[in-house]
Symmetry: D2
Amino acid sequence: MLKIALLGAGRIGQVHARSIASHLDCRLAAIADVASEAAQKLAAQYGTQVATVDSIVDDRSIDALLIATSTDTHADLIERATACGKAVLCEKPVDLSLERALQCQATVAQTRKPVMIGFNRRFDAQFSALKAVFDKGEIGRAELLSITSFDPAPPPLSYLGGSGGLFRDMMIHDFDMACWIMGGAPATISATGSALVDPEVASIGDVDTAVATLTWRDGRIAVIKNSRRAGYGYDQRVELLGSAGLLSAKNVLENTLEKITDAGTLTAKPMYFFLERYMRAYEAEWAAFVEALKAGTRMPVTLTDGVAALACAEAATRAARTGERVAITSDMLGT
Amino acid sequence: MLKIALLGAGRIGQVHARSIASHLDCRLAAIADVASEAAQKLAAQYGTQVATVDSIVDDRSIDALLIATSTDTHADLIERATACGKAVLCEKPVDLSLERALQCQATVAQTRKPVMIGFNRRFDAQFSALKAVFDKGEIGRAELLSITSFDPAPPPLSYLGGSGGLFRDMMIHDFDMACWIMGGAPATISATGSALVDPEVASIGDVDTAVATLTWRDGRIAVIKNSRRAGYGYDQRVELLGSAGLLSAKNVLENTLEKITDAGTLTAKPMYFFLERYMRAYEAEWAAFVEALKAGTRMPVTLTDGVAALACAEAATRAARTGERVAITSDMLGT
Amino acid sequence: MLKIALLGAGRIGQVHARSIASHLDCRLAAIADVASEAAQKLAAQYGTQVATVDSIVDDRSIDALLIATSTDTHADLIERATACGKAVLCEKPVDLSLERALQCQATVAQTRKPVMIGFNRRFDAQFSALKAVFDKGEIGRAELLSITSFDPAPPPLSYLGGSGGLFRDMMIHDFDMACWIMGGAPATISATGSALVDPEVASIGDVDTAVATLTWRDGRIAVIKNSRRAGYGYDQRVELLGSAGLLSAKNVLENTLEKITDAGTLTAKPMYFFLERYMRAYEAEWAAFVEALKAGTRMPVTLTDGVAALACAEAATRAARTGERVAITSDMLGT
Amino acid sequence: MLKIALLGAGRIGQVHARSIASHLDCRLAAIADVASEAAQKLAAQYGTQVATVDSIVDDRSIDALLIATSTDTHADLIERATACGKAVLCEKPVDLSLERALQCQATVAQTRKPVMIGFNRRFDAQFSALKAVFDKGEIGRAELLSITSFDPAPPPLSYLGGSGGLFRDMMIHDFDMACWIMGGAPATISATGSALVDPEVASIGDVDTAVATLTWRDGRIAVIKNSRRAGYGYDQRVELLGSAGLLSAKNVLENTLEKITDAGTLTAKPMYFFLERYMRAYEAEWAAFVEALKAGTRMPVTLTDGVAALACAEAATRAARTGERVAITSDMLGT
């Protein structure tokens, strides 16, 4: 039975608390949050205790930490926890600064402690099926990957200001998907973006609608499309053209009801947002972390994966600004 | 906080244990099972105690019972529990004998205690959406209802021998769906059945493939199709033609991946069986029971509904044997 | 080059005229219709001549006749044409009277001339694909067949009066589909019907919503559902459960556009009626007739098939009235 | 009745011959082809005569020409025909050289004769429905357009050598779709391409897999994906994200049959290639030309549209080579 501590009792922390508590091999031993009320409430629901980060890190009986605090604390907490011998599952991104993430990667490497970055989409049933079928060779070699990722509604401008911009905050998930499916980071990135949903977004130097094109050294191509506002829900699709066919992971709809009337055929919308769509992915993510931890095998998403996604985001930000193709160099990947 | 006791720790009892334990307003206070080991194991998992049926029924602090024992004990347990002032959610069917079910219905009526019968499909997201859209009048008046219900694989002959036959054991779910959607029991039933999956089934006087046609006094018609073996999974569909359109609740597939190759377009199968397909329906069923109990409102599925489905099953069994249209009379419905 | 005469220049005659004229091996040599204006106009469009039935039948250069006149003339015209040595493709049904159709069957048998009955649905791309895949054994043995056949809107009462009733006029297509797919006529038929779309229909002894259940001697079952008014278009589906899978021929939609908004996902309706849905089937039907004629092989739909469908219709009409299962005897099939 | 001459009796000329001959308002008066046998055969099939280009151009009774000859003859023939007062429907592209196309555009402008360029996809039922629904405002303002266009199999290298390259030969269709849907030519184009299907393609300086990103002055974005080899058929999809929803024109499948077995759910592939998929679009294209000609209204696809698509192709070719965003200037559009 693994003893787990949860850092962060916000919206995503609550999702993880449920996964930890319902896992047969885990005990949720402590919860820490700067907002003590949130921590208190969550601890009560799952019959566990509130603790400080310091006491958690120092508690030798704690096996692993799930870090779901604000982004600016991630790198520090990962370094502290691994230094104290704990395994870590940390929410994405590692940091908004590629430099800081590379530093964290180097520091953790010396502890040899397992760290997993929470790119939850890899554990979605549709995307993991796509990856598995592709890896079995059922559509031959990869040629052209397309990722569509639209949020239902934009976050408030106040959030966007500190988000690092669309490529670091939102498209980072898609960069990870692309690196994961294609089996490594791309060689170049081109990008373009506009503030179409809300012109105010332009005034803070950000975009809300964007396209990035990635190429690999062997000529393979990926296209990523993002919008902050699809309106109809969370649009999450991946499509991979291979030398022998096409794989396409479609949206998950709210239900399967179909109504046919004189107005046409009406079916449901995609599930509204990430909590609905990826609830099961979060459970599977936690299970994969526990399984790797118990077996002593490589984490399914590593800190290096987290760095690669961030490197893509940094390159895309630059590419969108200049209109030029930007190279991803090995020093950007820490490899 | 409601104190709940669970009778039956088998496969379906385990499903219910999870729903009870994770409901914020409930505490799983005791589990009873003739197989004490199963009860013990389940109790340990949810941090509760094993008890006897006698002690549970006598325990005045227990608010409600979930009965998930074998069918032949249902009516007795419902009567005992309600006599002792407890609310009951009992798995379907009430009994294999319509006569015994009618007796139970009459006995319970005098206690005025709430009893809900576990027709879980009413709580499936697809079917409840169909019912809700129909009730809002979006396809006008009902005309022709079609229910497809195929199991992935037949149960062993040994099970079938004591099952009461396909119409009572399997189609009873569909009879309940039909009565629920159409707003009351049908006036007549015709039926036919064959042993096509396994000829041995005929030797014990049962069928494994069957069709029943129901008519209502105002001319509305329903068709129910059953097979014990679809092979590809659990095929659960409902389609309703109304005066202004068609509603169709489709299967839920394992995932949304699509593979297009020279061989065609391949997508997933329906979820394999009832535990996969209806896992969320069981949770919603329990939530609906608790909600009605707390609010003191009418149970969403009543003992009378359980009797109606059984009356249909009895009529269909007779209709299949004789080739004649059988009337459903009010004394068969206990109304 | 075959010389073809067309009898009947009405709506369906016009469809056939196009098929004949555009077939590379055929010449549309003459058109006859009691309404001479219609014949005149159609002849002008295709650069051919108007003629009387008498002159056509007597014209030794005419190889084949396409009979698209009113139902009451079919049997007579088939007999006259075959007696004069011509091949015939005649629109369904052979006659409204099973007795008359059996007589025609016997008469024609003596001429040994090829007669094809125009059950156009067998030539629809979806249904012929279903039949071909089933015949290749891809879903094992047939067990349960379901046919859904809804018209978009009911014909006028005046038409219904002389139609022979829903089972003879509308469901006859579905009886043919069932006999074709299952490889022979059923052993029994049960049926029920109601006047739900228009209560006036009951006053003339007919129904507008109906279900028939067919069984074969070996236990296989088929269910046919008909409605005169689907509202949203022509609903034409066939589904076959086999021992190793399910085949399902879906509707053909007007286009493939999908609109996703906050209101849900909207796609097109089924094609509105038989001219849209079956336009290509009519072409394929004519091509199949010509091919069989040229090769001297058995017609793909025979007069015996036409009699079988009519026998089913007659049995279903009786079954709906009595509530009893009606047997299809070999004398009803003329075999 | 319009008298039409067809120049070019090859594969696409044969498709147009059928459309012309079956149009009620047209007469196919003459066919010219450098391969006189092909012209002879086609003329025989439709009961018309073979002629030289010279005699056709000089024949004052000819109202319009359909030009379906090789690309290098298009501009000359358009200029000659319009100079002689004839209306023209010319297959795409106007020319492989933007300069020559601009010259042709200027020359024709002085004749004021109607010229339509054969971008057949605008007349496909799926895409024209998308355009119509968008124009009605049903998804608000356009934001992000995606076009997927994959051929089933690559043409021979010998063809590619003279094709002008993928952007001019294949993606030109998609550039026209983008300009048409977005209501004008883009301001910039970025592009990338690889030879993934066949490395030999790189040796002739071409690509077989490519992505282009287009932006409009107001920030709207379009992405176009091309592959010369999808294997499973002709993949032709368009998707438009608007401020109030998403429109998506899906592929047209060979039929609607679905087979569900233990291996999953199998449906048909997309129609194999452009003759299957766009057969009806070619008919509709011709009908639209005739309608505009008779009404004296603006052609639905103009020579200026043909120039715009070519300008995009030229810009994309340059962008792919340099990795830079290329501007589309007004002198490239001849406006």
